[in-house]
C-alpha cells in the first residue's frame, strides 16, 4: 500500500480520538439538522404576519416568501458551515500535525525512506475522506428535512444543487484544514497553533468583508452575502479584499447554487477562489521542510 493511503488510514483512525473535533462535530451536525426547522418556523411566522397585515388592509405587497425555492431552508446551513464547520476543519488540521509533533512519531516515521510530502498528503486525504463522510451524512439529513417540510421528495434538479452545494462545502472546509495544518507546522507552542488559525479565520470572516462593505461583524453572520459599498474608497477596498475572504465567496456561491432570490450572480467566481485557496494551501503544506514535522513544541 502506498504511503499516502497508509497515512490516510492512520489519520482516520486517530480522528476518532480527537475530543475537540468530536464536540464540534456534534454541535455542527446538531445545528445543521435544526437549521431547516428554524427556516421553516421563520417562514411560517412571516407568512402568518403577511396574512394578518393583508387581512387588515395595511399592505398590497405580495408575500415575500411566496416563491422561495425549496432549498431556501438550507440558508442557515451556510452560516453553520462558516462558523462551526470552518472551526471544526481548523481543529482537525491542527490536531493532525500536533499529534505527531507531541508524540514525536514523525521522528520515527521519517527515519524510513518516506517522502514527507506523501505523508502530509496522506494526512490531508484522511481528513478529506472523513469530512466527505460527514458532509454526505449532512446532505442526507438536509434532503430528508426539506422533504418532510415540503411534504414531497425534493425535485431531481434541486437534489443535484444540494449535492453541488455540499461538494463545494468540502472544498471550502479543506481550505481551513490546510490553514490549521500549516499553522500547526510553523507554530512553536500548542496554544499558538490553535489560536493563530482561529485568529486568521476571524480576519477572513469579519475584518476583510467589513473593509469592503462597511457591514458590522455580527451582520456578516447573516446568510445573505454582504453587498459592496459603492462609494468612496470602498469599491477599491472591496475589489482588493473580497477575493481574500473565502467565507464571503462561499456565501455568494452558496446563495447562487441554492437559488437565494436575494442574490443575483454566478457561483463561478466563488468556486474559483475556493479552489485557488485549496491549491495555494496544498502547495505551502507540501513545500514545507520535513524538519518542521520533527520540531519539538516549547510547552
Amino acid at each position: 500500500m502506498s504511503i499516502v493511503l497508509i497515512a490516510a488510514r492512520q489519520e482516520i483512525k486517530s480522528l476518532r480520538r480527537e475530543k475537540l473535533a468530536q464536540a464540534l462535530l456534534i454541535v455542527f451536525v446538531g445545528m445543521v439538522s435544526l437549521s431547516s426547522f428554524i427556516g421553516w418556523l421563520t417562514k411560517k411566522n412571516v407568512t402568518a404576519i403577511w396574512q394578518k397585515v393583508k387581512y387588515q388592509g395595511l399592505t398590497t405587497a405580495p408575500n415575500p416568501f411566496a416563491n422561495v425555492p425549496d432549498l431556501y431552508y438550507l440558508r442557515n446551513t451556510v452560516i453553520y458551515l462558516v462558523l462551526i464547520g470552518a472551526l471544526l476543519a481548523i481543529v482537525l488540521g491542527v490536531a493532525s500535525i500536533l499529534r505527531d509533533r507531541k508524540a514525536h512519531t514523525a521522528d520515527l516515521i521519517l527515519t524510513r525512506p518516506i517522502d514527507s510530502r506523501s505523508y502530509l498528503l496522506g494526512k490531508l486525504m484522511g481528513i478529506g475522506l472523513w469530512l466527505t463522510t460527514i458532509l454526505g451524512f449532512v446532505t442526507l439529513i438536509s434532503w430528508m428535512s426539506i422533504a418532510l417540510i415540503i411534504g414531497k421528495a425534493l425535485a431531481f434538479g434541486d437534489s443535484l444543487h444540494l449535492v453541488a452545494f455540499f461538494a463545494m462545502s468540502l472544498i471550502f472546509l479543506l481550505g481551513f484544514v490546510l490553514l490549521g495544518m500549516i499553522c500547526a507546522l510553523y507554530s512553536s507552542r500548542e496554544t499558538n497553533a490553535l489560536l493563530l488559525p482561529i485568529s486568521l479565520w476571524s480576519i477572513i470572516t469579519f475584518v476583510l468583508p467589513q473593509l469592503g462593505t462597511a457591514d458590522h461583524p455580527v451582520s456578516l453572520l447573516n446568510p445573505v452575502p454582504a453587498i459592496a459599498n459603492q462609494g468612496g474608497a470602498f469599491s477599491i477596498l472591496n475589489s482588493v479584499f473580497s477575493p481574500l475572504s473565502t467565507t464571503e465567496q462561499f456565501k455568494k456561491a452558496s446563495s447562487s447554487i441554492l437559488g437565494n432570490p436575494d442574490f443575483i450572480g454566478s457561483p463561478t467566481v466563488g468556486i474559483t477562489v475556493l479552489a485557488l485557496a485549496l491549491m495555494v494551501g496544498t502547495f505551502v503544506l507540501l513545500t514545507s521542510k520535513r524538519d518542521r514535522l520533527r520540531r519539538t513544541l516549547d510547552e
Partner: protein, 321 residues
C-alpha cells in the same frame, strides 16, 4: 507578604512576558480601530451622496432640502463592541485557561502547594491578576478609541459622552473578565487540560456566535433585505400592533437570544452608547432603566462565574490525579 499578593505579582510578571498575549491584545485593538475607521468612512460616503442628491435637486429647480445624515460619534463604536464580544471573549478564554494550564504543564502546582497557602488564596491571586490585566487592556482600548472618535467626530466629546464611554468600558471589563474566569474555572475543574479547552471553545461558539445568530435569524424583520415591514410599507405603529399578535413566537426568539450573556452585554452597551435609535440622545438614566434586566443578568452572571472559579480552583481539585 500576603500569599494572594505574591501569586498576583507573579501572574502579572508572566502576563508581561507573554508576547503572544500581547499580540492578541494588539490584534483586538487594531480590529476595534479598523471598525471605527470603516464606519467613519461609510458616513463620509453618505454625506457625499447626500450633497450630490441636494445639488441634483437644486439643478432641477427644487427648493426642498432633505435632512442631512447626522453623525453621532458614539454610534461609530458598534463594530468595535461586536469585536470585543467575539474576539475579546475568545482571547479572554486563552488568558484564563493559560493561568492554570501553565501550572499543570510545568508541574509547578505540587511545589506551590508545599507552602502554607490558604484555601482560596491561590484562586484569588489568579483572579486579581486577570482583573488587573483586563483593567489595563480595557483602559488602553477605550483611551485609544476615545481619542480616535474625538478626532474623527471632528468635535470634542462632551462630559456625558465620556461618561457613556466609561460605563461601556466598565461593562466590557466585566464581560471579558467573566470569560477569563470561566476558562480558568474549567481548566481547574477537569483532570485533562484538553477537555477544558474543548468545553471553553464550544461554550464560546455556542454563547457568542450560535445563540445570538439563531435569535437574529428568527427575527421576522431580518428575513427581507431592508426589513420585512419596510418592504410591506408598514408604519412603526402598525408594526408594533401586528407583532403583538405574534408574542409567543417573539418570546421564544427573545428567550434564545437572552440565554446568551453576550446579548446582555451587547444590549446594555448599545443602549448606553446610543447605538440603538431608541436610546440615542436620551439620558443615561433612560438607558439604565431600559436595559436593567440585561445589566443585572450580566452582573449576576459575572459574580456567579467568579464564585465558580474561586470555589473550584482549590488545592484538592488541582492536585488530584
Amino acid at each position: 507578604m500576603n500569599n494572594t499578593f505574591v501569586i498576583f505579582r507573579k501572574e502579572l510578571l508572566d502576563v508581561r512576558r507573554n508576547k503572544f498575549l500581547l499580540l492578541l491584545l494588539t490584534f483586538t485593538l487594531l480590529a476595534v480601530l479598523v471598525s471605527i475607521l470603516v464606519s467613519a468612512l461609510d458616513f463620509r460616503v453618505k454625506i457625499y451622496a447626500y450633497n450630490k442628491y441636494v445639488s441634483a435637486l437644486h439643478s432641477a429647480g427644487s427648493t426642498t432640502v432633505p435632512a442631512p445624515p447626522q453623525l453621532f460619534p458614539l454610534q461609530l463604536l458598534r463594530g468595535s463592541i461586536e469585536y470585543l464580544e467575539i474576539l475579546g471573549a475568545l482571547f479572554s478564554i486563552v488568558l484564563g485557561y493559560g493561568m492554570i494550564a501553565k501550572e499543570k504543564q510545568k508541574a509547578t502546582l505540587g511545589l506551590i502547594f508545599t507552602r502554607p497557602i490558604g484555601r482560596y488564596q491561590f484562586a484569588a491571586g489568579k483572579i486579581l491578576a486577570l482583573a488587573w490585566t483586563w483593567f489595563l487592556a480595557v483602559l488602553t482600548i477605550f483611551a485609544v478609541v476615545t481619542a480616535v472618535v474625538a478626532i474623527i467626530g471632528n468635535s470634542p466629546l462632551h462630559a456625558i459622552d465620556l461618561y457613556r464611554l466609561l460605563i461601556t468600558a466598565g461593562l466590557s471589563w466585566i464581560y471579558l473578565l467573566l470569560w477569563s474566569a470561566l476558562a480558568m474555572g474549567l481548566a481547574s475543574y477537569t483532570r485533562e487540560l484538553g477537555i477544558s479547552l474543548v468545553a471553553s471553545i464550544v461554550l464560546w461558539l455556542s454563547v457568542v456566535l450560535i445563540l445570538p445568530q439563531i435569535g437574529d435569524t428568527m427575527d421576522p424583520d431580518n428575513q427581507v433585505p431592508g426589513g420585512l415591514f419596510n418592504s410591506l410599507q408598514i408604519s412603526k405603529k402598525n408594526e408594533v400592533a401586528v407583532l403583538a399578535n405574534f408574542a409567543g413566537f417573539d418570546k421564544v426568539r427573545n428567550g434564545i437570544e437572552v440565554s446568551s450573556i453576550t446579548k446582555h452585554y451587547e444590549r446594555s452597551t448599545f443602549a448606553y452608547l446610543g447605538i440603538k435609535d431608541k436610546f440615542n440622545q436620551k439620558p443615561v438614566s433612560f438607558a439604565f432603566s431600559g436595559t436593567l434586566p440585561n445589566l443585572l443578568s450580566l452582573i449576576f452572571g459575572f459574580f456567579g462565574v467568579i464564585l465558580f472559579a474561586i470555589l473550584i480552583t482549590t488545592r484538592k481539585r488541582l492536585l488530584r490525579r
